[in-house]
Subunit: 690 residues, 2 copies
């Protein structure tokens, strides 16, 4: 049951699309909460007992159980995802309280909101909004799982990428020119490490201008794209939110002419600086701007591009004209005087504090289809609407073909238009675990096409870190290795012992039928792909406590190694399972394991997969790209004594409509394997235990 | 066997004091290493097999096994101890390679040195010195343990603090005045949470001038000290390395007059700025300066102070005159022009990059008893010699009484003069584990009196974080809760549910006979107090892999919980042990556990201790301060079937000589408990299993 409470005059965010199950509440306030008005906003508080867990909040630091910290939704470009942080790039205001009477809460507010999850006081949840205009949804249900499902129905189905977006993808800030991109492709193909995409970070553009290509470095992007696509490799360029201020640059000139940019309080185009230097930000909350900007992507799709990543759309700001002015003023006050302790820190921070300044967000204005709105109040909708702009236009530009699209900033609702990557993480071992923990939290909030920068974006990776991270990455829908300027080269081919990289990534390709099937199954059924164990085993107290293993789809459980120099790890089995320990993409050992606590050894070249009893994991043959995958010949693995079935969801991996969609039943009993579909009759080496 | 190799003209650091076992090598280079000259320094490299582990490097990030990262010894004031960092506050150039033929290496070099422990290449250890003047010691032995013992003998015994330094200590930057200090003492005593010390951070001084007291805020420090000491509470003030430049300030004037400060290349006193604003740094490498500065501590000991922490002695620099000048020059180049992307980052970082600049370290000069030396070349000796200065003077000032002394910066050799705390950590869960991992690494390098800021220095702690951290802190010799300006109050009394804090800290006091005894035993025998399991169980492959449990002394193993919201943890028992699960300081349950892997539940108020079979853990009664502890009445806990003995080392906890030292044998067989000492004949409630 979903009750909606309207506070003030909410801004329509588009997060909720299915209102069928929602009742407007007749009560004055959400029943279980105490309510206080505080400085224009509200504070909802609820005392929780010791054992209650709180899930949700999407892209955030800390545990799957969010208890014990405060989280603020205010999309932030912050590359140091430590335990102290309160905001990352996304704003995902959905939580589920796992108490005796479970309760879901979604606060549909585009401005700042804080969830103090038993941080200030260890027994009290507080939800604090900065302003008074929002919808508050209270969702009750039989179980946490049921509540999440209701929420997912309410916000609508998720974006589905093309099949090739499930292949391995290689990125770096930046491959500087055609030769460098070709070299990446060549080195992967030569090492026989599968690859489906190479990314173009900001340096492919001419002067960091959106929808331009630097022809000195990329003389013929169309030809390069074609050449690589023949090898099964897609080029994926970045698009930034800021539009360079430069006379003669059509995007800038059209934007100015049509009043398409964010304004200052006097109605002048607001000047910020990002990669290109001075920029204006398109007003993506305006539908005309969305269509105008979105149709610009055609310039790149016309060159054969079929994948994009939208970046810097919190929006990130290096500095603004307003900010620089105030910084010089601070310095002028000191000039002539000595810099000493009384002013050193002020001077030092005068420039350093300009980036992503809330003062700028408070000084910019939108025209939301006629209504003037301060950006600060709708801050969390910006990246969402930039990506909606791209998505809606691409549906028009390529009506018969899915395009890969994901964004850095996000808000619930954007999950219908694209995926996300989880931003500028670091080459830290604890970020493997953070990556894992975000997966179910994001799934709850609707985001299915997700992944982190494998190997870590900032800082130098090491060979063992990259291998262990890949062993989680083989399971994430977006499997991309990306690293920052100035860091060590992080492509698999940059390290000794390439065989271990090759075999792990080949294994990913073998898993694609399963990953793709479970992705679509979860989407159609409003389920999560990645689930904490507590969701499937709510009565098992050990399962409730597990924060480093996940259920993946209906058949398997994953438990990656995420500590350096470890020879293995502990794992909890909530039921009997078959451990399949892959030594390579083609060889594995199995072990029947009982429900309970276990220690498993996992070498750097190994990948453990736990298959539930009487369930089946389908595997295809590996290939160098998804284009080469033959998903009609599947090997099945499982520990089957009663007989088992696997329902494979598949399609042509390209079309936007459902015409190519197929649901195929694979069944196993003893050593006999059956399918209900002619095209899938060929099986090879199925391993089934009785 | 220890071989010494002399390269160039080494600076005598004083790290090594026992030369008896050391042979000057007749070989040209350390035999197992390849050697290359590189830009004035040397690179020693050694290929390691997959299974070789590398221990050591003292205060550093990452694992007990240091494999998989590069570490640079260059004492650094850096408050963000993330996995990316290469230098913290200490320089501890000792490693042991745990391979088929184990090997120890100590490089006695006071300048920069990097240990690339299989980071660049996953199979190669590289040791790279920046200059060519150093001693390289190669230590061979039967085992890792044996090599560490040889090294410890070579560098001499460690500092021993007074007994009260084993009590619980409360700190904050800063308790602003007498009233605030009294309030801390009052609140602990009222809550019956034991307390032995309250710290005075920088604000007790007048204008941050060393050896002054701000009489507005602390009108009579002597009286305050006396009043608190009657309650069993010691005051511990901070001393900073930098001396304020201020006419009339005697320390400054004497230093200038006698030429006691670091100079620039032209011989002028070098001007830096730290807390007081402009400062000079005493030239602690000069013996006259050490005596002069050290004797100043008498001003505080005369007020009854008997504990000090030396800080900012890497030395930390906020900025220098040289730096400020160059920053303004950068800005002047931009002034008049627009700040844009071509110069924004340079402008932004002009001031921000001034702190702890290597350019300053390269611009300062020492007079090391006659020899002029660039600071950069001897950087890592600075904090060590500041603390040696204090230690030597305090031995003169208080010849019959031990003084609490610890430092932030350090070098091997300083362990003979003081302890260290591990600097400005954060209120992060992963810093509990970092705290644990540093303990054995520091012990190997001679540092026994050690501890981290419990609850975390930077950032806001939470109640659960503080409780779990205290549950490790009860075992560390220095048990201090400390937090930074601007963070949430972190005293135990600031949180709800004080009983759980009280019981944990009372338990600490019950453990003091054991902790104190094992401290002195380890020191006398050149052993480590905290040991990774591999050291005691070198043939047990699971023990070799454990990075989150430690052997503590000869009797017990510890395994704290370090993840948020966890109901327990996995633990590996390398032999049969008795789990003693304390629910409070006075109640516990025991469980006989078999060698192997286990999951144990540990509630927030619980503390698990594992006692080895046929070993005994002595406990005294809890008390509000160490002054009240009665260590002659001990309860013994153990799982004894053959009979067991515990050798208690004790003394009066005060004297510098050994006259009060006693070694007492406690033995148990069945329910019979014996002691070989009259004064220790009373036992109470001994729990012994047969």
């Amino acid at each position: 049951m979903i009750f909606s409470y309207k506070f003030g005059k909410p801004i329509e965010t588009g997060a909720v699309v299915d209102f069928d199950g929602i009742k407007e509440a007749e009560f004055e306030k959400p029943r279980r909460f105490s309510l206080l008005e505080e400085g224009g906003g509200f504070c909802f508080s609820l005392v929780l007992d010791d054992k209650a867990a709180v899930y949700g909040l999407g892209e955030n630091i800390r545990g799957i159980n969010k208890r014990g910290w405060r989280y603020t939704s205010y999309c932030s470009d912050d590359p140091f995802h430590t335990e102290s942080k309160q905001s990352l790039y996304g704003a995902h205001n959905f939580i589920v309280i796992d108490a005796e009477e479970p309760l879901g809460v979604f606060v549909d507010i585009p401005g700042k909101i804080t969830f103090d999850v038993c941080c200030e006081r260890s027994d009290t949840l507080k939800i604090i909004t900065e302003d008074g205009d929002f919808y508050f949804y209270e969702i009750t249900g039989d179980s946490v799982k049921d509540i999440i499902r209701q929420f997912r129905v309410m916000i609508g189905k998720s974006y589905v990428p093309p099949l090739w977006a499930f292949g391995y993808q290689q990125s770096r800030w930046s491959y500087p020119n055609e030769a460098a991109v070709r070299e990446v492709a060549r080195s992967y193909r030569e090492a026989k490490i599968p690859l489906d995409a190479v990314y173009l970070d900001i340096d492919y553009m001419e002067g960091y201008k959106d929808f331009t290509v630097d022809i000195d470095r990329f003389p013929d992007l169309g030809a390069l794209s074609k050449e690589l696509k023949e090898q099964g490799i897609h080029l994926v360029p970045i698009i930034d939110a800021g539009v360079k201020i430069e006379d003669g640059y059509d995007v800038y000139e059209e934007g100015v002419k049509n009043g398409y940019f964010l304004k200052d309080k006097d109605g002048k185009d607001y000047v910020t600086a990002v990669w290109p230097g001075k920029t204006h930000f398109p007003d993506f909350l305006n539908s005309s701007v969305r269509r105008w900007f979105g149709m610009k992507y055609k310039r790149l799709t016309d060159m054969g591009i079929d994948g994009f990543w939208n970046d810097m759309n919190e929006p990130a700001i290096f500095y603004s004209e307003r900010g620089i002015k105030s910084a010089w003023e601070k310095l002028d006050n000191v000039r002539g005087k000595n810099v000493d302790m009384s002013n050193f820190f002020a001077v030092r921070d005068a420039f350093a504090s300009l980036s992503n300044s809330e003062d700028d967000y408070k000084s910019m204005y939108h025209n939301m289809d006629g209504e003037k709105l301060c950006h600060h109040k709708v801050h969390n909708l910006y990246g969402y609407n930039m990506t909606r702009s791209a998505s809606e236009a691409l549906a028009e530009i390529k009506p018969n073909e899915r395009v890969l699209l994901f964004s850095r900033a996000s808000y619930i609702g954007m999950h219908r238009f694209s995926g996300i990557w989880t931003g500028d993480n670091q080459s830290w071992w604890n970020h493997i675990l953070m990556n894992l923990k975000m997966l179910p939290s994001l799934n709850m909030c609707g985001f299915l096409y997700i992944g982190a920068d494998i190997g870590g974006f900032g800082g130098d990776t090491t060979r063992d870190l990259l291998l262990r991270w890949l062993a989680l990455g083989v399971f994430t829908p977006l499997m991309r290795n990306h690293s920052a300027l100035g860091t060590r080269n992080q492509e698999c081919c940059a390290f000794e012992g390439q065989e271990e990289f090759r075999e792990l990534i080949r294994l990913r390709y073998r898993l694609i039928p399963y990953l793709y099937s479970e992705y679509n199954k979860a989407n159609d059924g409003f389920e999560m792909i990645f689930r904490p164990l507590m969701l499937d085993y709510p009565k098992d107290k050990f399962a409730r406590d597990v924060e480093d293993q996940l259920m993946l789809g209906d058949e398997i459980m994953i438990a990656p190694v995420y500590t350096q120099n470890a020879m293995g790890r502990y794992v909890y089995l909530p039921e009997d399972m078959l451990l399949v320990m892959f030594d390579s993409s083609s060889s594995f050992k199995t072990e029947k394991m009982k429900k309970g606590h276990h220690y498993i050894e996992v070498k750097l070249n190994q990948l453990p997969v736990f298959i539930k009893k009487n369930r089946l994991l389908p595997l295809c043959e590996a290939a160098e790209s998804t284009k080469e995958l033959d998903m009609s010949r599947l090997e099945l693995i499982g520990w089957v004594d009663e007989g088992a079935e696997y329902i494979l969801y598949t399609d042509d991996g390209i079309s936007r409509d459902d015409k190519s969609k197929r649901v195929i039943k694979l069944s196993a009993r003893g050593s006999e394997i059956k399918t209900d579909c002619e095209a899938f009759k060929a099986y090879d080496g199925g391993i089934v235990f009785e």
